[in-house]
Symmetry: D2
Subunit: 244 residues, 4 copies
C-alpha cells in the first residue's frame, strides 16, 4: 500500500485487512521506495494511493519490479496513460495495471448506465450535489458523465434535446457540456450525489447515486486488487471489471 | 364560470359538476357579460378563468353585482390587487374575492413548507423541471419560492449558505435569486416538478412536488369556491385556505 | 394493426402515422381476419395489440402468411412462446417475431440495469407505486424485476442482504420475492413508477422510472416495428433491441 | 451534560464547545450525581443524554435543584411525562423542561409538514429506510408519523385512501398503522431516511429526509439549550421551538 498514511490509504488498509483472501504485507510512506519494499516483501499486487505528482514514478517503478498495480491516485491524463501503456507493452511478465478514477461501484455503474441509456431519450440532463467546501463546479465526474452522454447521442444520431427557453435568468439552465446541461448544488449534509435525468414523452428515468462515506470505496478497491493479475496490460476504469 | 371554453375552464366545469354540494348555473364565453349573466342566474360564487387583459374588468363587474369571486387568471400585479382591495372596502355586502396564482394544493404546500423550513438550514437551493416547450427559465413559481425562502432567512438572520466554488463552468451553480440558487431542467416526460433541497451538516430535507395532469387543480378550485363566501375582502393565495 | 380500436391500439396508430419512414396500411378490428387483411394489403410488419385469448392465433396466422409481427398483447407464457418458437423454426422465410411485455424504454432499461447492478451490492429492494385502481400488488413488473435481481445475485454468489429485523409490524418489510423485498404503494397522482434501491456501506444507487402517459410506449413500439424484419425467429423483450 | 461519555453525549459536548454563546461547565458520568454537580458549578441548563432507566430520576433531581433541562434520552412515556408535569407545576421558579424525541430539525419538520398536509390528499403512505442492523420495523418515527397523519385525516373528515388491491403477495402493501401504509427498507449505505408520499389526482407531493451523520442533531440541541429557559413548564417536541 503506497500512501498508506492518507485518508484513502487508511480506509484501504482497513479494507484489505478485513478481507480473508488478501494479506497486507507492506505499507509505504513518503520516505519509502515502493518498488524496493515490494521486492523485499514479495508483493504480488500494489495499491498506489500516493499524490498526483508522485504517482507515475511510483507505478513505473512497481511495474519494472514485476508487480501488478491498482492505481487510485488522480491526475492521470492521456499522455501519462500512453507512457504507461508503452512501458507495459515492453514488460515481459504479463503485468497488469488498473487505473481507477472512481472506486465507488455505484458511481461507476451510474455513469455507465447513463451512457447506455442516453441515445434512447429525447432529453438528458445531469445534476450533482456536493458539500459546500468543494471548489469546482461542476464536479469532474459530472463533466465526464455529460461528455460520455453527449458522445453516445452523437454516435447514435440522437437529435439535440428540445428547449424553447427564450427568457429568464442567467445560469438557470445550468452549464452546457457538449450540449448536455449540468446543474451543481452545494449543500451542507451532502458528501457527493449525482443524478442523471432522462425523459421521453410520458416517461422519466432518473439514475441517482449518493456517497455518504469513504467506506463506499472499499468493495471497488478489493475487486480491483483481486482482478488486476488476470488483466495484463492497462485497464482504465472499474466498469471493465464490473462486466457492464 | 367565466372562460368556460378554455382548457382550465373545461377542467373547472367538470370539477364543479362532479361536486354534490355545488351547482354550475352559468358559463360565460368571450361574448357574454359575466355580471349580467350572474344577476340573471342568481349566481352566488363566480370563477374567473378568463385572460389577463380581461380579468380585472370581469372581477370588478362581478363584485359590483354582489357576487363572490374566485380568480384563477394570471397577471394580477400589486397595482391591480390594490385597486381591487379598494373596491372591496367600499362594497357593502361582505363580498369576498380569492385570487389563486396556483390551484395545485401540493405545489402551494411545498412553497409554504420551504418558507417555514428555510431559516433552520445551512443551505437551501431550488430545482424545477418542466416540459421543453416552456419559454421562461426559471419558472415563476421557482422564482417566487426562492424569494420567499430568501426573505424568511433574512428575517431570521440566517447566514448566507456557504459555497467555496472558485472555478468551473458558467451556469453550473444555477441562477441566483436573492442569493438562493435556482436550477431549471427542461425535460420531455415532465409536465411540472419542483424540489427544494435544505441541508444541515448530517441531514438533508427534500420537498418535491410533481404535477402530471390538469386535474391536479380541481381540489384547490373546489376548496376556494366553497370558502370564498366566508372570507370577506381580498385573499391572495390558496395557503390561507389550507390553514398552513 | 391488430386491435386498432383499443386504447393501446389508438396510441399505436397515432405513433405509426407520425413516423415518416413507416406507413400504416390496414387496421384490424374484432371481426377481421388479420392474416387475410395482411395478404390483401401486402403488409410487411404487423402489430398485435389484440386480447390475450386471441393473440396466439392471430400471431400464428400472420407468421403463416409470411408477415413479421410485433406482439404487445400480454399473456404469453412459456408454453405459448415455445409453440411459436417451433412454428418459426418451420417457417421458411426468415420471419421475425418480437414479443414485447413492456414498450416503455425507460422501464425496460431500469430492469436491465437493476439486473446488472444487483450482484455488486450488499442490499437490494424494489419499490413500485401505481394508481389506486390497480388490483394486484406487487405489479408484475416489480415481481419480474425482483426475480431477475435474485437470479443475478444467485449466479454471482452474492450473499443474502443483511436484515436484523426481529420485532415490529406484519408487512413492514414488504413482500419477499425470492428473498428480495418488494414494496407496493397505491397512490392517486401516480400512473406507474418503480424504484430499485441498491446499497453498499457508504453508497446508495437508486434507479427510478415513472410513466405518466401512454405516449411513453410510442418510441419502443416504433423501434420494434423498424427492427423486427432484421431479427428472424423469436425475440422476447425490448432490451435485445436496445443493445443493453 | 449528563451522559457525556456516550456517542450522543460526545457529539453534544462538541456542539456546545463550538457555540460562542454557550459554556459547557460540567460533564456527569455514571458515577456522578447530576444535581449536586449542577449546584456546585452553578449550572443554568442541563442536558440529559443518560439512559432510559436513569432519565426520570436525573431530570427530577435537576428540576428540584432549580436547573432547566433539555432531555434527549428516549423512553419517556405518557405516565412519566405526567409525573414530570406535576413536579413542574409545584416548582416555584419557572423552571422549563424540553423533552426532545428527535433532535434532527429536518426530521421534525418532515413529520410536522406531513401532519399539516395529510388532510388535503386522497392518498398518503410512509416509507422509511434504515441500516440493516436496526431490529425494529417500522421505525418508531415512521409509526409516529403515520399515527399523526391518520389523526389529522380523522379530525378533518378526510375519506380513507382508495385501494383496489384484491390479489398479490402478503406484505406488499406494507404495515397498516391506523390505516396508513408504512413500508420499511433495510439497506447498507443508509443511516436513516424517511419519505411521506401524498397524492391527489394529477399531483404528487413527496417529503423526504435523510440523516447521514450524528452531527445532524447539533443544531436542534443548541436550539433547545438556548430556548429552554424561556419556556417554563414542560414542552415535548422540537416542533414547538421551530415555530411550525
Amino acid at each position: 500500500m503506497v500512501g498508506a498514511g492518507g485518508k484513502m490509504g487508511r480506509m484501504a488498509c482497513d479494507a484489505l485487512e478485513g478481507a480473508d483472501d488478501l494479506e497486507l504485507v507492506a505499507r509505504a510512506g513518503r520516505q519509502d521506495d515502493p518498488a524496493a519494499l515490494a521486492r523485499q516483501h514479495g508483493v504480488q499486487v500494489a495499491v498506489d494511493l500516493s499524490v498526483p505528482s508522485a504517482s507515475p514514478g511510483v507505478v513505473a517503478g512497481l511495474v519494472a519490479a514485476g508487480v501488478h498495480v491498482v492505481v487510485g491516485t488522480s491526475g492521470w491524463d492521456e499522455a501519462a496513460l500512453g507512457r504507461l501503456r508503452d512501458q507495459l507493452r515492453e514488460a515481459p511478465e504479463g503485468i497488469g495495471v488498473v487505473v481507477v478514477p472512481n472506486f465507488a461501484i455505484g458511481a461507476v455503474l451510474l455513469v455507465r448506465f447513463a451512457q447506455q441509456a442516453a441515445r434512447w431519450f429525447t432529453s438528458v440532463e445531469v445534476l450533482e450535489a456536493h458539500h459546500p467546501a468543494k471548489v469546482d463546479a461542476p464536479s469532474g465526474t459530472a463533466v465526464r458523465t455529460a461528455e460520455l452522454v453527449a458522445a453516445a447521442r452523437r454516435e447514435a444520431g440522437t437529435p439535440a434535446a428540445p428547449d424553447a427557453t427564450s427568457s429568464g435568468l442567467e445560469g438557470a439552465r445550468g452549464a452546457a457540456v457538449e450540449g448536455v446541461p449540468v446543474h451543481s448544488l452545494r449543500m451542507a449534509g451532502v458528501m457527493a450525489a449525482q443524478e442523471v435525468w432522462l425523459g421521453n414523452d410520458g416517461e422519466l428515468l432518473i439514475l441517482r447515486h449518493e456517497a455518504t462515506d469513504r467506506t463506499a470505496y472499499a468493495p471497488g478497491l478489493l475487486l480491483a486488487v483481486r482482478e488486476v493479475a488476470q488483466r495484463p496490460g492497462l485497464t482504465v476504469g472499474l466498469d471493465h471489471l464490473l462486466g457492464v
